[in-house]
């Protein structure tokens, strides 16, 4: 598998997209630190990048990459190599390079300019989101043979999780505002990885406001490490399930 990862990794480096992505993150992070002396505000601006740009780039890049290396995959399949290994090799190579780009682009300046707990939470949620959206990209790639269609599905995923889902959630909150919604909203939030990452950040940046909640359940959830553990676990599920599904389809698929 390491050999597959190595070849895919070289291939990714050759396209230079990853380097551009790293550079983009690096420049924007440094610019934000230069413009604002307040670390808290920088983290806040970076959070918008992490919640919007990182998922979008991850999912679109991974999908395009998968289809661009279709011939390479077919070539490998002609060899006595397990499909599982090829697929996971592709996945790990793409996921690793995107995570590396993110850590280098955002993490490096953050360490240089000095970051607190919220900075590390940001890095953590950025990495998790990258992994989740690479997983989703691989799922959308194996769902169809048409590249354009796959990119369409990928974009739909992104749209759904970044915007549509929150719209639905808000609608539910509005409609059922007279009922105790605490546990239900929390359950609904965990059905969306972007929201989960956002809540991880809220726990750092807006803990005072979150503590203004009714109900002991919330106080316990937000006040202890329970929130952190819970959201990490659910994010992990969000990484594993799409990859697993995609892998199942890929191993059975007639390429």
């Amino acid at each position: 598998m390491t050999r597959v990862i190595k070849y895919v990794f070289y291939d990714i480096l050759r396209t230079r997209f990853i380097l551009l992505y790293t550079l983009f993150l690096l420049v924007s992070t440094i610019a934000m630190f230069q413009l604002d002396t307040d670390t808290g505000k920088v983290i806040l601006s970076l959070m918008n990048i992490v919640l919007m740009v990182v998922p979008l780039v991850s999912i679109v890049f991974s999908t395009i990459h998968f289809f661009n290396s279709y011939e390479f995959i077919e070539l490998l399949l002609a060899q006595p190599v397990n499909r599982k290994i090829i697929f996971l090799g592709e996945y790990f190579a793409v996921a690793f390079s995107l995570c590396f780009a993110f850590v280098a682009g955002v993490g490096l300046p953050m360490v240089l300019y000095g970051a607190d707990a919220s900075g590390f939470t940001l890095l953590y949620s950025g990495i998790m989101l990258t992994l989740v959206f690479v997983s989703l990209a691989f799922l959308s790639s194996v769902l169809t043979r048409d590249k354009a269609k796959a990119i369409g599905i990928a974009l739909l995923f992104w749209f759904y999780f970044s915007l549509i889902y929150d719209g639905l959630l808000m609608w539910i909150i509005y409609t059922f505002m007279d009922y105790p919604l605490e546990k239900i909203t929390l359950a609904l939030v965990s059905l969306n990885p972007v929201d989960l990452a956002r809540i991880l950040m809220l726990l750092q940046l807006d803990i005072s406001a979150l503590m203004g909640y009714t109900g002991a359940f919330y106080k316990e959830f937000f006040g202890s490490n329970l929130g952190l553990i819970f959201s990490s676990l659910v994010l992990l599920v969000w990484i594993v399930i799409p990859v697993w599904g995609a892998l199942r389809i890929f191993t059975k698929k007639d390429l």
Partner: protein, 415 residues
Amino acid sequence: MNLLKFHTTLVLCLTGISVCAKTILVDPAGSTKSIKQAITQAAAGDTILVKPGIYREGNIIVNKPLVLIGEGRPVLDGDRKYEILTIHASNVTVSGFRIISSGVSSVNDLAGIGAINTDRLVIRDNEFAETYFGIHISNSRNSIIENNRLSVSARSEYETGNGIHLWQSTQATIRNNHVTGHRDGIYFEFVTNSRIEGNTCERNQRYGLHFMFSHDDEYHRNIFRENGAGVAVMYTRNVTMTYNLFEKNWGNSVYGLLLKDISDSKVTSNRFIQNTIAIYMEGTSRTEFSENIFSSNGWGIRLQASCDANTFTRNNFMRNTFDFATNGTLVLNSINGNYWDKYQGYDLNKDGIGDVPYRPVNMYTMVVERIPTAVLLWRSFLVFLLDRAEKVFPAVTPENLKDEYPNLRPHDLST
């Protein structure tokens, strides 16, 4: 000449109590073994010096002007049954004791030190532990309470009374005390012309400071931290609060500072850090809020529509989740000349003042005001879009609630 000298000496000796006062020693190993006995022996103005030891004497009543001094911190133990010291006289000083385990009774308000109808009472350098009320003073004047430490390990607010409790008093000075675990740290009712300085009230069950009907009082340099419900001040006029620190008062309906029916007051140079709601105002009028720092709070200011003619100026609002929330659209208060870290305007003439007004109430604040659960969607892309739309066409937010001269840089406030 000689005759005159003689007369002066005589007058001094007859009237000047301090000149002829004696000191009575209380020592478990000495001739006077109990404080009660010493009080019976003492004449007005005498000093009772108490040596180290544990004194279990039930309720000790001080009914004449005396100075009680504990040496090496003697312990007065109330056996969980009695009020430990009850003071009925003026010019009494109590210092250097450790006062523990008073009785618990919500009918009689038992305290570590209780005082009724006194003048010039001084309570200094004492330690209070597991007392129901710590210090309970009623109908007194010119009391000085300083450098005391009060602590209780009660689990609910029904098991404990207030730390320093004053009722119907005037010209009290409460200085450099530390109160923790009580129901209210400092409680004032009908207390006027008093100063509360340099106290620390933390982790009390209910309020760090709680006062009602206490006019013309001043609060300076106090620290109110992690109290059950923050600080509540009600039905009072002409209060001055400066250089206080309100910190980490967290929870549902927990406020850094709750103002209810307060008028003609000043809240200046205070710091509000990491409170769920830094200031909650209801029925507050003609009060000036200036040079305060609001940092990392859930809500900076929550202003109910019943407030009018208040001014907010030269405050710094930084890193709050929501700077300002209100429940009405009619604007009767002025919020000009503050620094808001969320301000995104420009300053073409470089005078340090933004050229476009800042509206601190954003649309989502109004949503959260109605549906608290909606705070979970805060900072999502959807909310960002909604807020942007609202900024362009204000529909929900009070259009006239705005800072006309927002500062571009934080005010330099040395607090």
